[in-house]
């Protein structure tokens, strides 16, 4: 058994295609200006249906974090730091922050995206502490 692999939908396919290219994109609503995550069938700000993916610089701040010692299933190396990240340019997402020692991931930590391939199709937006080189290379 391995880690659950995301199955792209019509809403998310451009996100995963961009991730494979090493680009972080988030839904952006041209009508009301909101950037949001996860993708929804209509904008959570104004219910417009014509939102589009827009690039993010991939820098942000840890809003909250838990160090998970007991994973929900096989395929995870524990412990890992599961964090909520507020992106500087809008939208909030869930990801692992790899700081080497997961205990070093604290609320307020500045992070940037670090893409790592999970499968041929799916590349995941990990985050690593800012001003630090990526501590480990792709899995």
């Amino acid at each position: 058994m391995s880690r659950p692999v995301p199955v792209p939908t019509q809403l998310s396919r451009p996100f995963w295609e961009a991730a494979r290219r090493g680009e972080l994109v988030v839904p952006h609503c041209p009508t009301c200006g909101l950037r949001f995550f996860v993708p929804e069938p209509a904008c959570p700000g104004c219910m417009a249906r014509d939102w589009r993916y827009a690039p993010s610089a991939g820098r942000g701040t840890v809003y909250s974090v838990t160090v998970v010692h007991r994973a929900p299933g096989p395929g995870f190396d524990t412990p890992f730091a599961l964090a909520v990240i507020d992106l500087d340019d809008g939208a909030t997402l869930l990801a692992h922050v790899d700081a080497g020692d997961p205990g070093d991931v604290v609320i307020g930590l500045r992070v940037h995206v670090d893409f790592r391939a999970l499968t041929d199709e799916i590349t995941l937006p990990y985050f690593v502490p800012e001003n630090r080189p990526s501590p480990s290379i792709t899995e």
Partner: protein, 386 residues
Amino acid sequence: MNPADRRLPVVVGVYATEQALSLPDRDAMDLALEAVSGALMDAGLAPSDVDGAQVDWPGPGGVPGEGSSWARVLGRDLRWTSDSMLDNAGSRGLLKAAAAVRAGFADTVVVGGCRLVSRGTGPVGAGVALEFADVWGSYVVAQFALVAARHMHEYGTTSRQLAEVAATIRNNGTTNPEAMMYGRGPYTADDVLASRMVATPFHLLDCCIVGEGGAALVVTTAERARDLPHPPVAVLGGGMQYHQAAYANPALYREVGGLGRPAAERAYAMAGIGPHDVDVFSLYDPNSFEVIRQLEILGLCGEGEGGPLAASGAIAVGGKHPVNPDGGCLAYAWNGTQQMTLKVVEAVRQLRGTAVHQVAGAELAVVGNAGSGAQHYEMSVLGRMR
């Protein structure tokens, strides 16, 4: 409450099946049938007295998931039913049944059932694949942990305060013969802190148990309740709040820290009471922290003050605000969605004066169900009638 209010919705029957970590000789249908029969017997009613069923129908038999399957075994046509597991449990189920009774769509509604979620595959969670959560190992405990961690960061809430909550509620289960954890413990806060870490800040003993069992309750009108055996328990008020669906997005403290407060304010106003009038609280306790958050949103203290209040002894059976005298989900039972109904069962027993750990003279109870980190809250105010 007005004695002339003939359609006032009241709870007249409650029942909990055995609750255990595993019930290998039982299936969900068998437990659901026992729960319904037990609640009707407690109410002094026959199956044919029921004209509404918000009850899980797991099958075999009937059509699994279709509530109207109950019409055939109850032996009569129904006027009210539900096909949704969350509408069949706890405060949400109770309030929808009460609304139906109040409006006259039905006179006597059974709410409850059984779903053996612990026999499913994968972690307990939404029950469907979540594209942006599952891949990160973001499951129930971790999503609640993300909320707790932010509360601790903002207000200085401590792991020891969390541990005091867990120990207090767990110790109620230690001496409750119906509890899954009966005879285990007692626990001190140090025991909780010494148990292995699951997801910071939650140690193993900060987290609820996972098991199997069913439950049901019967709602009818105050008029119908007059000649029934138990003192009726009135549904005096209620409120619900839904922030978003379960687990797809992480619960953010800045969005859900106050989740349930407006619902509680509406429920208190409807009942004509305040939080300090309440004698006993039956609250969702999937972990120690969620109790602390609810003390705040239920108006028992200010935001950020829940940790010290919970650790002060206030939530003990003899305290100012007793919480979960049955041992809660931490030690009595968590069984999927019907753990929410168990919260109503305990509140009704307290108001009848028949609880295992009875709060002396309890006249008003609050039932708080929540979930998913928490993304939803359903609260009801119950009161003893005579």
